[in-house]
């Protein structure tokens, strides 16, 4: 029940966002000559309506269990990805990759430290092997911090 109400609200917000943004900043046009705002506005409106309907129906539907949420996993993986993104230019791919793998490994509650270290070394080496040496892609291994 709560799930349906929540997802309906989410869709309504997303749809509403696209609808309002299109109407405010983009040209709508006519059916003959559709402007850039036509399609997104129509779709946004439809999504908004769907969201409201889903929420409304959600009040009547049976409750279903939500299940566990891997908060630790979420925190570590998202931080890892963001760190990789930020570090890619500044630190370079090599350090960023190490950070990414380390944080990803930490996302697991079952991994042991020795295995994690092994994983970092092995995985980073493997990625370098495949992407840089085997495929010859030019990746900035060390970033602007290192000159």
């Amino acid at each position: 029940m709560v799930k349906d109400i929540a997802v309906g609200a989410l869709f309504a917000i997303v749809g509403g966002f696209f609808l309002v943004n299109s109407l405010l900043s983009l040209e709508f046009g006519t059916a003959f000559r559709m402007g850039p705002g036509y399609f997104p506005a129509v779709l946004g409106g439809a999504l908004c309506l769907l969201g409201v309907t889903l929420s409304a129906l959600g009040f009547r539907s049976a409750p279903s269990p939500f299940g566990p949420v891997p908060w630790r996993g979420l925190a570590f993986i998202l931080t890892g990805l963001v760190a990789f993104g930020i570090g890619s230019r500044w630190l370079g791919i090599l350090p960023s990759l190490v950070i990414l793998v380390a944080l990803s490994a930490a996302a697991s509650r079952r991994i042991t430290l020795p295995f994690a270290l092994l994983l970092i070394v092995g995985l980073v080496s493997f990625c370098l092997l495949v992407f840089v040496y085997a495929l010859g892609l030019h990746l900035p291994l060390l970033g602007t911090l290192f000159g």
């Binding site: 929540a6 997303v14 399609f39 309907t53 990789f84």
Partner: protein, 501 residues
């Protein structure tokens, strides 16, 4: 004859050492991820898409295709041996296959699955080769209004396969469509929803979105419960099926091949729909329907043949019309675009080695899989004891580097994180990610064709019903919509998908 010439060209292309190697790599990787639960062909193809940059287009597509139908083979191996389908299309195989394994007939089940898949794959390849060129000619009759209606049909059809409610699937499609509109407007150059970020001017990266929604979100889902699954490694003896088994399976294999070939072409169809439909058909036609679910070999032979045929013929709309029938095909189109090939009816004429080489390599790949899978069964099963915490960091690392190599943009990495979170939230709330990706890929084409159709008809919306092709397609879409919402069929859908849980 053209047909023979084309096949000859195809075989010549597919049998070059380079292409053979990539076919082999693709099918092995495909089997691998088919065996391993928690990662599927969509996420894998998305991850490896950036790698295809440095390959020639034919090799790239051959490898990616190998991953796709290889996953069908791998998924059935674990479905039979440990009741853990690694792939959605192997779910029905587990129903009877696992029971056969428990009765000591695992070897027979595996062998029949492999033989059926190969037979169906051969048939499907033949059909593709036969009908591809005529279909391209039909495709040339399509006007923008017809393309629009075809894509609408495809999107509606993909709802049929989505679990959960019809409304949620529809909402996912529209969300995908909206996300695809981020970027520059094709006609006016106006920046839509980019918030001034220059990196989004070309739209959101398909690979980042795919990898986020199918890769990261799935990893998060698997991290909810990190307990190990018990892998009962069973000694697989008696690989050769008896005469009776072969005789009992021949009908289901033939029917499965036919069913898969037809259903695979439908937008939204593909291997999953084919395998479910085949199971339902075989159960309906069987002399002893009660044996299904208790180890009936027909329950393995039919679906396994159907899912392989379906996987292959789902290439047809992509190769002839340039329209993806499934998210995987959408990514294949992405790969073609990266290589500078515009997908559509002209591919067959302008890139014949690519077209026919790909088709021929599908048959070769099937042969490789037949020879690979049975002897290596032991290895595949042992792979399952690799702990998940060794796998998922690899998936994340590959995804991040892969996306970075395409654009070098930090925003794309953040996009992966955002899509991963968003995708996970949606999955938790009971939505399916596949319709979103399909909408995301079809969005620009949908809008483009809509606007063109409106321009041509001078703003007259009835053009969608006055053009015969468009009218037929839209009527089919409406019929599907009605069919899905009818209570009787809604119950059947729920019944079929309940078995998956």
């Amino acid at each position: 004859m053209d047909f023979i010439d084309n096949l000859a060209l195809g075989l010549a292309t597919a049998l070059t050492p380079g292409n053979l190697l990539y076919c082999f790599i693709g099918t092995v990787v495909g089997t691998l991820i088919g065996v391993l639960p928690g990662i599927g062909p969509t996420a894998t193809i998305a991850m490896l898409l950036p790698l295809t940059f440095s390959l020639d287009p034919t090799a790239a597509l051959i490898m990616l295709a190998g991953i796709y139908y290889g996953a069908q083979y791998g998924g059935s191996t674990t479905a039979i041996l440990i009741n853990l389908p690694g792939e959605a299309s192997a779910v029905v195989t587990a129903l009877d296959g696992y029971q056969m394994a428990r009765q000591g007939r695992a070897g027979t089940a595996l062998a029949i699955a492999a033989i059926g898949s190969f037979a169906a794959g051969t048939f499907a390849t033949f059909v593709i080769a036969l009908f591809a060129v005529p279909l391209t000619k039909v495709a040339l009759l399509f006007a923008p209004a017809d393309y629009f209606s075809l894509m609408v049909l495809g999107l509606i059809a993909s709802i049929v396969l989505a679990h959960g409610s019809f409304l949620k699937a529809l909402a996912m499609i529209i969300t995908g469509l909206l996300l695809s509109l981020v970027g520059s407007d094709l006609y006016t150059g106006a920046q839509r929803f980019t918030f001034g970020q220059r990196e989004f001017a070309d739209g959101l990266s398909v690979v980042a979105v795919a990898v986020g929604i199918f890769g990261i979100a799935e990893i998060l889902r698997n991290l909810e419960d990190e307990s190990t699954r018990s892998v009962i490694t069973r000694k697989v003896a008696g690989l050769f099926p008896t005469r009776n088994d072969l005789r009992d399976s021949s009908g289901p294999i033939a029917r499965g091949a036919l069913l898969g070939t037809v259903l695979g072409v439908l937008p939204g169809g593909g291997s999953v729909l084919s395998s479910f439909a085949s199971y339902a058909l075989e159960k309906r036609l069987a002399k002893e329907p009660s044996r299904f679910g208790k180890g009936a070999i027909q329950g393995v032979a039919g679906p396994e043949s159907a899912n392989n045929a379906g996987a292959q013929t789902s290439f047809i709309p992509m190769l002839t019309l340039g329209i993806p029938a499934t998210p995987v095909m959408a990514l294949m189109i992405g790969a073609m675009i990266i290589q500078g090939i515009v997908p559509g009816p002209s591919v067959a004429a302008q890139n014949p080695e690519l077209f026919w080489g790909l088709i021929a390599s599908m048959w070769i790949g099937n042969l490789m899989l037949l020879l690979l899978n049975l002897p290596l069964v032991g290895i595949w099963v042992r792979l399952l004891s690799i702990p998940y915490y060794a796998l998922f960091p690899a998936i994340i690392a590959f995804s991040a580097i892969g996306v970075y190599t395409i654009s070098g943009s930090q925003m794309d990495i953040f996009l992966i994180a955002a899509c991963g979170t968003f995708g996970y939230v949606l999955i938790k709330l009971g939505c399916e990610p596949a319709p979103l990706l399909l909408g995301f890929v079809l969005g620009p084409m949908l809008e483009d064709n809509l606007r063109r159709a409106m321009l041509i008809s001078r703003g007259d919306p009835t053009v969608f019903l006055t053009r015969p092709i468009s009218a037929v397609l839209l009527l089919m879409a409406i019929a599907l919509l009605i069919a899905i919402t009818l209570p009787a069929i809604a119950r059947k859908r729920k019944q079929v998908f309940v078995e998956e849980n």
